[in-house]
Amino acid sequence: MTSFAPEAALNAFLTLEHLSVEFRTRHGIVSAVNDISLSLARGETLGIVGESGSGKSVTSYALLGLLDRAGRVTEGSAVYSGISLIPASESTMRDIRGREISMIFQNPRAALNPIRTVGKQIQDVLLQHAQCTRQTARRRAIEALENVRIRDPHQRVDAYPFELSGGMCQRVVIAMALACKPRILIADEPTTGLDVTTQRAVMALVCELTREHGMATILITHDLGLAGEYCDRVSIMQKGRIVESGSARQIFHRPSHAYTRKLVKATPHAAENVRDLLPDDEKSPLPPIGLDDVRPRRPLLEIQELRRHFAGKRSWTDVLACRPATVFEAVKGISLEIWPGESVGLVGESGCGKSTTSSMIMRLLDPTDGAIRFKGQDITLINRQAFVHHAMRRSLQMVFQDPTDSLNPRFSAADSIADPLRRLMGMSHRDTIAARVAQLADMVGLPQDLLTRLPHQLSGGQKARVGIARAIASEPDLLILDEPTAALDVSVQAIVLNLLVDLRARTGMAYLFVSHDLEVVRLLCDRVIVMRSGEIVEHGPTTQVLNQPSHPYTCELLAAAPRPPIEAHVEPEFSHD
């Protein structure tokens, strides 16, 4: 069904035709990829965009012969400059993999062997493909690290993966992938889990190296914005099929397929408000936020000079020499306040102290110094163990980052939501609890028949809803949202963000929205606080901070967000087919 431009097919050196892949599961055969055709020209960057389960990764695994035992290519062929990849013998594939076609995986730490130095791992690849001798291996490994712009490659070559940051690890993985000068690079979600500034650096590096070596790149991602910025052509996948292919501009400006339109809309880059993220037919008017005209007398939450130190490991030699343990200051004396009903964004990159701050506000972690006044009372004075049963507990709740990790695997959705009702709201009668759970499920738009399911039987968006329902069950006054949509697909993110806006309008809760995604913060928050290395570098109303940032770090963060080829605030013209 997919037709690619004939000229592209002519000088294509990788063509994939009518590929279908099936998986054998407990419930019979599941088709993961269905009749996919692709072509890749020399020097081209092709983006494959789709949400989780769309079959985008399976396609690349099939191409490299890396499908696991349950998977099987049922149909189709792949040819790489005259060599057949599908079907191909395992020995052919072993020669192709790494030398001709390389792959970068999603989680750089998981892709590296934790007990071998990175230099040794690069040497393994080089030796495997006879690209060097034992004598030259180390020098070649250092060169490879130099190529991916790692500073001090002579030292870093002997580093273990755990000694390097996430971004550094990804560079090492790229160095390994490029060590044998492959002709095609497949990058499977290369920047998921990395900070925006790191993401920008990694993507810029990949593009630069692609040009330098005359490689072709396939970028597999769920982020349409990322693909839009870095790819020449983009193919959109949904449920194992390619629904649309075209140039990046074309996809953004004239998306022809309904699913592409939905994806383009849900990508928060130019939306005026959260409702713009939803497809037109699912929109409802934005509820007015019920902020009183008269400002309340005192802030809901007031933080003064909050500090948190973590002591480093102190070895017994340190103890003997009376050396104090090294101290890491995660939060270096921050002050902020949140007013009732307000939505505040707390923005920063990993390690900036934003999660430590939210844990302290939640009383999951004791501060080293400083005061947290909630409704005028300093809650740091209440013992952390005692706070669990304190009356304040129900007013402070939190939605966690990873919806999967935040639900007890043995609890059904109803059990999870009922937990705070039993413990905090003093409900004990089975029917009252069931009624309230049903009411909460309604509020977060969770169908009642899903309440008996266990977490692994729910989708990511449904799990997020359960997490939100549990957090609002005790009718809190302040809800901390710790990157609640980071693990979700964009279309699900759009729905969850809208849900959060509606809930706030309905309940008058205050939000502290912890995030690294400025575009999401723009849509959800009244005020923004930008943190870096444990300090607040900038704060103010959202529009002011995001439109006229005063601190260079805020500018850097704003610049790092992917810019798809679309003019801001211009409604894309949809050609309806």
Binding site: S406, L407, S416, P420, H456
Partner: protein, 282 residues
């Protein structure tokens, strides 16, 4: 729904894996033998007759021993005692070990170090010799065999539980349980430990076989169960002297029963884990 889907899940686990099906069948046979044993056999396991040391015949399937007792009856009747010793020993060490390991893992710090070193001390002894010592010192009773077997198995449960709890104690759902007003004890025993069940199940089934061997081993050297009680270890011990003179059936049959039981429990592990793991339900 929970109940019917659980049974459906058990059905799936058992039917999808022939090894599990075999292990479950053998386990069911052993349990039935333990329950019905005395009423199944034709002879009193303790009754001595003049037909001593007869090889297997149609009257005495497994032959008779030096006192003329029917070996088949003794092997069957012994199942209950051996199973009871091992089940209660394993249960005891599972409950105590998982609790200690859970506490060590959940609170960490000095509590973890202290408990850890104490359990390591147990591991420092040759375990069978330690069990011998405990039984010899505290009195030669079945109860003490159970306690000794439980003590030497403690560290294994504590270690598995500790490792599983350490992995889970910082996970989102444990933090969420704290926010929902659950105290630490409820979180540890009501939430975290049940999630550590699947790997512990494997440990339990391996341990059951081991506990049976241990109990039989102790009675083989004359500790714990004493003659004339029917018990596999004693029967092997009594028969050992007759192998040289060609009366092989005295040792082969109780030894074979012992082997079959250990074999069954070891096979059972994977199936039990699959049954107790909610992730494997759909």
């Amino acid at each position: 729904m929970a109940n019917s889907s659980f049974l459906g899940h058990v059905h799936y686990v058992v039917t999808s894996n022939p090894v599990t099906l075999m292990a479950m069948t053998l386990f069911a046979i052993i349990v039935l033998t333990a329950i019905l044993g005395p009423s199944l056999v034709a002879y009193d396991p303790l009754a001595t007759t003049s037909q001593a040391l007869e090889p297997p015949t149609w009257q005495h399937w497994f032959g008779t021993d030096h006192l003329g007792r029917d070996v088949f009856s003794r092997v069957v009747v012994a199942t209950r005692l051996d199973l009871m010793i091992s089940v209660s020993a394993v249960l005891l060490s599972f409950v105590v070990g998982a609790s200690l390991g859970g506490i060590a893992g959940y609170w960490g710090g000095w509590l973890d170090s202290t408990l850890g070193r104490m359990l390591d001390t147990i591991m420092a002894f040759p375990l069978f010799v330690l069990a011998m010592g405990i039984v010899a010192a505290s009195g030669n009773t079945i109860q003490n065999v159970v306690i000794a077997t439980a003590i030497i198995n403690l560290p294994f449960y504590a270690r598995v539980a500790r490792a599983e709890v350490v992995v889970r104690r910082q996970s989102g759902w444990v933090l969420a349980a704290q926010l929902a007003g659950n105290g630490p004890w409820r979180i540890l025993f009501g939430r975290v430990l049940p999630n550590a069940l699947p790997p512990m199940m494997v440990q339990i089934s391996l341990n059951m076989g081991w506990a049976i061997l241990n109990a039989a081993g102790l009675s083989f050297i004359g500790l714990g169960v004493r003659a004339p009680t029917a018990e596999w270890g004693i029967m092997v011990a009594e028969g050992a002297g007759y192998i040289v003179s060609g009366e092989w059936w005295l040792v082969i049959f109780p030894g074979g029963a012992l082997m079959l039981a250990v074999f069954t429990f070891n096979l059972l592990g994977d199936g039990l884990r699959d049954i107790f793991d909610p992730q494997r339900r759909t």
